[in-house]
Amino acid sequence: MALTDPITRKLGADEPSGPGNQLRAGDTLMDRYQIQEIIGSGGMGTVYRARDTHFQAIRLVAIKEMISNIADPLVRKNINGIYERESNILATLRHQSIPRIYDYHTHNDRAYLVMEYVNGRDLDDILAETTTFFPEEQILNWAVELCDVLQYLHEHKPEPIIFRDMKPSNIMINQQNHIVLVDFGIAKVFESGTKNTMVGTQGYSPPDQYRGEATPAVDLYALGASLHHLLTLRDPRLEAPFSFAERPIKDINPNVSPEMIAVVEKALQYSPDDRFKTAAEMKQALLGVAQRTGTLIHSGFISQTSGSSAPSRGVKSLWVFECEDEIRGTPLFNGGTLYVGCYDHNLYALDAANGEFKWKYATDGGIPGRPAFYEGNIYIGSEDQRLHVISARSGSVVWTYFSDGPIRSSPRIAEGHAFVGSDDGYLHAVNVATGRASWKVETGAAIRSTAWVSQEYAYFGNEAGELLCANFRGEVKWRFKAKRAITSSPIIGPEAVYVGSQDGTLYAIDPNSGWVLWRFRLGKATISSPTLSDNLLFIGAADNVLYCVDSRTAKEVWRFTAEHQISGSPIVYKDFVYCGSVDGHLYCLEMRTGRQKWAFATEGPITGSPAANEDIIYIGSTDKKVYALLA
């Protein structure tokens, strides 16, 4: 081993070269290699591109610098010995998918490996940039080449060589679109020390590798894991280990052929005995896929889970009631009666059991909201600017309250007051005993979001994009500002206030301070209100998607795509989510998986929310009808 410092700097030669110090452009290594730039860095150190000055013609090399973390000089010496032995083996390898090794060098805590420079990009970089799935044909070609080079390594004599760290960042694609394996297990030799913490690369390594096994089956699993990543674009490093079975390829990328999936799944078996025996066997299976799917181009398109193609049990309505205009609001079930507002200006009371008409009450404007029930009376806002209070039994007026703008939000009753927002920009707190406002909060923009009232505070959004928290004296405690209107109605869970905005974000906000706890990006704007059940939040958006998001981690749990926007708000009833869409369907989905149980087609867009009671779901549609369906 050389005793002199192998690095000579043109400038600042007196700088210390402690751990963490990288070489700089212009530095010369081993009196021969002129550093040009850093091309990679990872757990072990840095990879540089350098020019080999021994040749007149420009010859580029890649130099991998590894810094040992082992302090003990004796142990280190030992390891350097192993490292040199391994380098010697690598230097003898000849395969088009393995860069040639030219030179190596160890010095103190560092080792250098000089090798052929691969002009290309590693798959990790390529993955990071792609937004669309790779064609199966492309992945199949890479996979066959990877099996080929693994076969070469595994059949190496006298000892098989196990790559041990197959993953996208160690696979490069050169200018000719062929794969080249970089980063051999050699690095691991240099690293191996006292640690019993990390083994292999989490996400790609099989269970058996955690036991310290280095067998061909280990490489084949990691190859399967890399193919899974390439096919699904889901990074396994961000998931729990060995969880591929929880992310079936066909659910994520429906374009992949079943044949290809079968090969990847076999490579990913828990038990090494259930995987391919050899790389050669896996290569044969992949070539079989190519043959069966014909010229490597797959044609059978399987569409994604969506309203159109997903299974749908024929749901029949129990009864239907027809009004004279569109129903955009949400019905209320109370004491055997269904109350629903309509754009024909009427509030209808129907017998919930059979849909028979009981009474109707006429306002002077369309009714977009949801009625509320309190002490024998029904409360409902109308575009005629009034809050109407009607006897639930007789349908006659008790009192009305005038705001200065159309009322499009729904009233909420708490603490002897009806809280209702109006297009006049005020949240009105109307005393239910007197029919007079106790106070109003001015917000400066129309309020179409329904207030959530809890523990002495009212939370509501406005069209200027604010979410406000007001106390029961009408004082604003805090305001949170989103980028666009908040038409969605907030809900409060144990940890946060949740609300959607037309800026395309679902927000979780601290009820105390108004600070944002987390944000979740929706594909497009939303006016749908979230609903919460068991730490799961459900909200629809204009990108046709119903989202299910974990309320504590802000992670998407599943999504369901309808054929048109989802502007109504979902409800949860007995482990199922019910949600209408502008595509005219009411969908019934399993709450935890998003799997569709049924879809019911109405004849017009649905913009309101359903109501549920005793296994019956009630929904109004712009086809003017109210439907009662069996849940």
């Binding site: 963490g20 150190g45 810094i67 038990s271 979780a508 601290d510 600070w515 987390w518």
Partner: protein
């Protein structure tokens, strides 16, 4: 697949980290600091402790000890509390961090030190003005984003300042009754309720925990598993590091406990509860927790932060 565990890890007779096996029931506890069940007097005391206090504030205890079998301490702690109570706002807040360095070489303790320092620096920086400034405005980013960024910076600080070193990191930001938690590794955060519920908030990023989640081994097998400290995610190790970040409610009435595996891997949960519930205050509780871990052999560094919200 039923015998996956057995195949994966053939039973070993002796392992370096073997902990003296202790029957996991309260009646058999060796430490005199605990009694089970609690007597009337103690219950009364506890009820007293949770009487109304104005303004609401966080009461904290910390403990950090090398243990009996290690000759260095690779755990690191940060605990900070503040109370703002003015005509405009009343807010108890706190930042609590435990990091458990690993590697067994120098960079282990460097890594945990760096992690705790860079995380706390970043959090204080981002939150100081919004909380204590003259003209406060909420931060631009969400609290979860801020926590996530803090973990990222801690990770970078280690890869640069202590290459090769690794550490766990569990950081909890308490604001009022709410906690935002960021977590990598197997240091745990617990919500401990006065009715005896001990709820693990974090999910260990350990191989053994993963096998347990997959149903391959039982919790009992996991507890004595020779490779139970093997992590699949740690700061300073591998790229990218994704922290688990989530929001939860402060246990009320109850405690938040953050502790390294030197405590939770050694002292059974019911004993943890009894020590905490019977101590007069959080700092005494922490000292008793450490004593208990040492009584169980003290095989690893022992670290604990115990927080109670009194209001």
């Amino acid at each position: 697949m039923a015998n996956f565990f057995k195949k994966l890890f053939p039973p070993k007779r002796s392992a370096a980290r073997d902990v003296p096996t202790v029957p996991r029931n309260a009646a058999n506890l060796p430490s005199e600091a605990t009694t089970a069940p609690l007597n009337e007097e103690q219950l009364e005391e506890m009820a007293q402790a949770f009487n109304r206090v104005e303004p609401p504030q966080l009461v904290v205890g910390v403990g950090r000890d090398q243990g009996r079998q290690r000759d260095n301490n690779e755990d690191a702690i940060f605990a900070q509390t503040a109370t703002v109570s003015t005509s405009k706002a009343t807010l108890p807040m706190g930042i609590f961090i435990v990091a458990d360095g690993m590697g067994g070489h120098e960079n282990g303790h460097l890594a945990s030190d760096l992690a705790v320092r860079s995380m706390s620096t970043y959090l204080t920086q981002r939150l100081h003005h919004p909380l204590f400034g003259i003209d406060p405005e909420p931060p631009q980013d969400s609290l979860q984003e801020i926590m996530r960024q803090g973990v990222r910076l801690a990770h970078e600080a280690i890869t640069q300042g202590a290459p090769g070193g690794g550490t766990t990191l569990t950081a909890v930001l308490v604001m009022n009754t709410q906690m935002t938690v960021a977590h990598v590794g197997d240091t745990r955060a617990y919500a401990i309720y006065m009715d005896g519920r001990v709820q693990t908030l974090t999910r260990d990023h350990s191989l053994v925990k993963r096998l347990e989640e997959l149903g391959q081994i039982t919790a009992e097998e996991a507890a004595v598993h020779p490779q139970k400290s093997m992590l699949y995610r740690a700061l300073g190790q591998g790229e990218p590091v994704e922290a688990d970040v989530f929001t939860a409610s402060m246990p009320e009435p109850g405690y938040l406990l953050i502790c390294s595996d030197g405590l939770w891997g050694v002292v059974p949960e019911d004993e943890l509860f009894h020590i905490i519930a019977s101590a007069p205050n959080p700092h005494t509780a922490c000292q008793n927790l450490i004593e208990a871990a040492n009584n169980h052999g003290g095989p690893d560094n022992i670290t604990a932060i115990l927080v109670r919200l009194v209001d």
